[in-house]
């Protein structure tokens, strides 16, 4: 069950297409999940699975944060451009 949860977490993080530190965290989660799969002892399997799930969730959250930050920057720039073109220099309206 812990393995399945870890697998879902890893797949969800991959879907978020993480970059930078998020990608590193995801890579770590993948390794931990693979270690969980190959562990012989149940206790080790559980530890690796828990660690994989936690790091995958961390990667996922960091990827969402990066995407949200980019989105905010993009929309702020867009609004500034609109304000400049439409409100400050309305004659330059396309």
């Amino acid at each position: 069950m812990a393995l399945a949860a870890a697998e879902r977490a890893v797949m969800a993080a991959e879907a978020a297409q993480p970059r930078g530190q998020a990608a590193l965290a995801l890579e770590q989660a993948r390794g931990q999940w693979q270690a969980a799969q190959s562990a012989r002892r149940k206790a080790d399997k559980l530890r690796f699975a828990e660690a994989a799930a936690a790091n995958a969730d961390l990667a996922h959250a960091r990827a969402r944060l990066d995407a949200a930050r980019e989105e905010v920057d993009s929309r702020a720039a867009r609004n500034a451009d609109l304000r400049r073109r439409l409100l400050v220099n309305p004659e330059r309206r396309p």
Binding site: R47, E50, A51, A54, N55, D57, L58, A61, R62, R64, L65, A67, A68, R69, E71, V72, R75, A76, R78, N79, L82, R83, L86, L87, P90, R93
Partner: protein, 314 residues
Amino acid sequence: MILRLLAVLALSLSMALPAAAQSDHERAVAALSSELQALEADPSLGPLARLERLQARQAVADAGAARRSDREHKLALAGVRIETARLAAEAELLSAQAEQLDRERDQIMIEASRLEAERARRESERLRLQAMAREEALQRELEQAEADRTAAVQQAQAETEQARKLAAARAREAELARREAELAAAIAADEITDAAPPPMRRDGNRRIYTLSGNAFASGSASLTAEAQASLRALAGQLGSGQVSIEGHTDSQGADAANQALSQRRAEAVRRVMEEAGVAPGRLKAVGRGKSQPVADNGTADGRARNRRVEIIVN
């Protein structure tokens, strides 16, 4: 003795070490718990990432209750979960900011539309005022043109009236002069007592008396005193028949002028006849102009004979 002392020390250490380890773990758990509480107390991030915060709280609780062999692992998991909760909360906060930016974009577009409408309204108003100004200018030009035209018409009417009055005054003056001349001639004629009627010829039952052109001043319809005396003599011999007085001219000058002169001369003869006592109802004066010559207009003598007034008695 020394061995015994070492044994007591080892026992003491063995009893003290778990207590120290327990204390470090509790401090670590407390630190994590404090970190999580700080996150949840944050006014902007605290209400967000509920699932991740729940997982973090669970992880901290698991770390606090972990067995000695699992403590390090559980502490690490709790740290990751707290960091995940913080990152997720920040992501949600930024997502909310992105949505706010979209609403701000909508407000910008609304404001731009309002400004555009305002600009269009001002432009429309400017064009309307411009058209109105052109219309007013045109109206003023039309009114000025109409005023100029009216003034010109009034000026022309005034000049026409002035000319008419002048002509009337001159006609009046000429009439008075003529009347004066006639009166003078009449007075002079009163002094002529032996005047004979104009020469007469017969045409069937009609008697035709001819007053020659020298009975008038040149170009005038005023009879000479001799002519008036001759006509008075004729008036006493006319009897009771109808009298037709016909004026004639030579062919020199314009037709209209000759026609008018012959008419005026016939009228002058008629007035003398009336004044001499002939009933006005018997008299008829007609101007014939140059239409009925009795001699050649090519010679001075012929033209003198053509200038005449004939008094025809039926």
